[in-house]
Symmetry: C2
Subunit: 276 residues, 2 copies
């Protein structure tokens, strides 16, 4: 298997047993991560992802054992070992091994190289269905490892032919399980400002949208989302993906909107260009 991972200073084949059983990520869910990918063999928006990873670590009061330059060298070596044209990287930082299952002593840092999900351009033109789900993430601005509801609901989503959950709480939406959401009301692009992870793809899309649309970043109600003209989600792997259905309700006429498809096109030009 060509994929490798980095664990506390050493490289290992990806399927090596590495974690001892008193890791606080495992026993106490005390862990955070980030996930990004290469385009043309180069990590996309590496500075942004690294800064977000640093920010998550700071909020969980975990010290990063390596700096950005050393991490970049690790990524280059993992990429080389993979032998692939493009890969994804997953950074995971946990509270480390703990004698009393509570106290942090020294975090464990894992960097995994992972195969990319198969690209599916047809799906991006067709759009996807999500299920409304009453929940708001705890510590939403920190990319913690807590994705219990996503895993718990995986079968239900399959049964309902839905691709994701739309989190809402007290009538206000926040995000999908792993991606941000946007809506269009006419030529106004709107995205929630709170209880969300600050996505890097979200940021790029907002930058691109600014030349074409008015952009509002503010609380968004579930009703406003359901009755929007167009809705879509953004993520590292989904890029700009139309949301055409929330549960049984179609958004707009139930097909991807033209403004969404414009942003999709603009985003795909960015990642395919060499100077991102």
């Amino acid at each position: 298997m060509p994929y490798h991972c980095y664990f506390n200073g050493q490289l290992f084949p990806l399927d090596t047993p590495l974690f001892k059983t008193n890791d606080l990520g495992l026993l106490r869910g005390y862990g955070m991560f980030d996930y990004f990918r290469t385009y043309n063999g180069v990590p996309f928006r590496w500075n942004d992802y690294w800064q977000r990873f640093e920010n998550s670590a700071r909020q969980l009061r975990l010290s990063l054992p390596i700096g950005q330059e050393e991490a970049a060298a690790v990524l280059a070596e993992l990429y080389r070992l993979s032998g692939e044209a493009e890969v994804a990287f997953r950074f995971v930082l946990t509270g480390g091994y703990s004698a009393d299952s509570v106290s942090v002593v020294e975090p464990n840092l894992l960097i995994r190289t992972e195969p990319l999900p198969q690209d599916n351009p047809g799906a991006r033109l067709k759009g996807m269905k999500v299920l409304p789900y009453e929940y708001v993430r705890d510590l939403p601005e920190v990319k913690t490892t807590n994705y219990v509801h996503m895993v718990l609901m995986a079968d239900e989503m399959k049964q309902q032919r839905a691709s994701d959950l739309l989190f809402h709480k007290d009538g206000e939406i926040s995000e999908l399980t792993r991606s941000n959401v946007f809506l269009f009301r006419g030529d106004v692009l709107i995205t929630p400002n709170r209880n969300v992870l600050h996505g890097i793809t979200r940021r790029v899309v907002m930058e691109l949208a600014a030349s074409h649309f008015e952009v509002e970043v503010r609380p968004v109600s579930l009703d406003e989302f359901l009755f929007a003209d167009e809705t879509f989600t953004t993520s590292t792997t989904k890029w700009v993906m139309p949301i055409v259905r929330v549960g049984e309700q179609a958004i707009g006429n139930g097909t991807p909107g033209k403004r969404t498809l414009l942003l999709q096109d603009l985003f795909e030009k960015v990642i395919k260009s060499s100077d991102h």
Copy 2:
């Protein structure tokens, strides 16, 4: 090191690296556990703990790879290997290894033998301080591995000489990070009925209290707790532990109450008897 653990059918020394890096407990916080201990070398209330473990697994839709009898044989062997008079056992069940970081295929089952926290009878007579903390556990009836706030606040607790957090949300209390709470108003013993883990020690104490006090199981406001005559917490390791201070506020006169000490005494008689 005499302590061992069981992992998916085999026994290993406790500090062996065992988990591969794509475990869903580690990557997605998709895991649950239980924790109990021996008295006189025998697991206390083993049936109750096993049933709770089974219930957590059911709620997370994870299948248990072994049944209760097989688990009991594992416990006996782990206990023998430890060479100790008394030990604690930690059961951990995760979503297992996942190719796509979402789908559960086969759970990983870990059973760790752990040394008991040092007993401190003086602390039980003195009581402890807790900090009020606005939070309610997600999926409170499932013993998931999500204890992020407990780990995050560990330093703050030390600085404030507090032993734990008292969770409250919208004016209603639920529990401490790892234990249940009770209060006395006169001779009426009251404990929250919702957003709590159903503790085994909680159940034993309610059984013992029934002969001496009226017992109410119902929603409890933070104010009612702060102005109670006596308060205490119950857990596998804390037994019946008086809470004498919540933040800067003393409960009652700031010392353990006589009714609490009676329950403490009754509970200690149970665990020291041979026929539990």
